[in-house]
């Protein structure tokens, strides 16, 4: 194995196996062959409930995909959920304000929302001014969103994507204006604030599961299954390794560090 840098051989092989699993599972899901079902994530029904309530009150729905860029997996998961939310809003004629921090993300969400309205047969109802770029600065974005939540009668607040410190600013201001809030992020340090301040919180990877569940997209489903396998292998490695170390052998440590 002189081809691979020493110290990275085990890493390379494991990663390669994971990659192959992803590709195989995605193509299986695409060709419609049987794949395991994905369990429903709690909080997804709440999405419909929140939009429904905003509709009854004649109020606005706000959606933020977080502040990550397009190379962040969470941002892409947010696009799939945004599609669902935008379709619901189009169906019920509920106003949707979608805010952005990243310029490239902004150009994509604009297309995502527009397409959702077109797909729902409500192309005329799409208002380009309601998909908004606020500021590239993290707290500049936060201050802008706070203003919108106060001024635009937001009663359903959906925050899904990669969030940092602004998470609690959005969630608390949302709670103060009386919104139903559904939030989710895989950024571990921000999850506690969503749990504390929102009505429903998706934990970590649950946002990927939610996007796969809602979109039924073979790419997302295949990936999720491969990730499950990866986690199972992780659990097995940890148990075997811990038992070996307890028995006084570090063979697995050595092997994985090769």
């Amino acid at each position: 194995m002189g081809l691979i840098k020493p110290g990275l051989i085990a890493t390379f092989l494991l990663e390669l196996a994971f990659g192959v699993a992803i590709v195989v599972l995605i193509s299986r899901a695409r060709t419609g062959r049987k794949v395991p079902a994905i369990r429903k994530v709690a909080g997804l029904d709440a999405l419909d409930e929140a939009i429904g309530r905003a509709t009854e009150m004649g109020a606005t729905v706000h959606f933020s995909p977080g502040i990550g860029d397009v190379s962040n997996a969470q941002t892409l998961a947010a696009f799939a959920i945004l599609t669902h939310v935008a379709k619901m809003c189009a169906k019920y004629d509920t106003r949707l304000i979608q805010t952005n921090r990243n310029n490239v993300v902004y150009s994509i969400t604009e297309e995502v929302v527009k397409q959702a309205y077109v797909d729902s047969g409500k192309a005329d109802a799409f208002n380009p001014d309601d998909v908004r770029f606020i500021s590239e600065d993290q707290f500049g974005y936060a201050s802008g969103v706070c203003g919108i939540m106060n001024r635009e009668k937001v009663r359903a607040n959906i925050l899904i994507g990669a969030f940092w410190a602004e998470s609690l600013i959005f969630a608390e201001v949302g709670a103060q204006v009386g919104s139903i809030q559904i939030a989710g992020t895989a950024n571990t340090h921000q999850i506690p604030f969503f749990i504390a301040a929102c009505d429903y919180a998706l934990l970590g990877e649950e946002i990927y599961a939610a996007s796969a569940y809602l979109s039924r997209e073979p790419v997302l489903i295949g990936c999720l299954i491969a990730q499950d396998w990866g986690k199972m292998i992780g659990v097995i490695l940890i148990l075997v390794g811990a038992i070996s170390v307890t028995a006084g052998s570090t063979w697995l440590n050595t092997l994985l560090n090769k």
Binding site: S71, S135, S143
Partner: protein, 205 residues
Amino acid sequence: MVTSNAWIWVAAFFTLGIYTFPFGDNPVFRFCESCFVGTAAGYMVTANWFNYIKPSLTKLTTGENYLLIIPFIVGLLIYTRYIRSISWLSRIAIAFTLGYGSGFILSVDFKPLFVTQVIATFKDLTTGAITPIDNVLLVLGVCVSMIYFFFTVEHKGAVGAAARAGRWVMMLALGAAFGSTVMARVSLFMGRVQFLLTDWLFLIK
């Protein structure tokens, strides 16, 4: 005694202006918000210009590195998005950064964030850092937290019990994160109060 430095007054005004918001939206906050969004966008341009674009431009024009013409063209393609007929060209700029970004993640993330973390969990189950059962708890804690995130296995029976335990472990972790963040947030506020009391009002040294 207050400062006679006009700049400090500006900073104090912005500080107090933003602090009006938790007590209710108002025009003063809105003024500060607009200034914030504006200056931040301006800063983004000037900081990149001085620290990166200008020095690279010098390298290109002095002939030190002619190849830099390629990234200059690719980078500027992003602005074609404002011209409908050729807006697809902006995808090239995005494609380039995404290609680099994803290649980078594939190269450097897996070892330290997965493999090393797995190896670090190979603990001697008979001891612990603070109590003798800590290592057992740590190993089981990591496993049950991961089991909670199995999405293609139904949470029933043993898996269900493990997943529930996983949620409890995570709640402890998230509670700890919340508790330790309180200090961070108070620090931020203190930083501003220290500024107001020290630099503006001269109340403390």
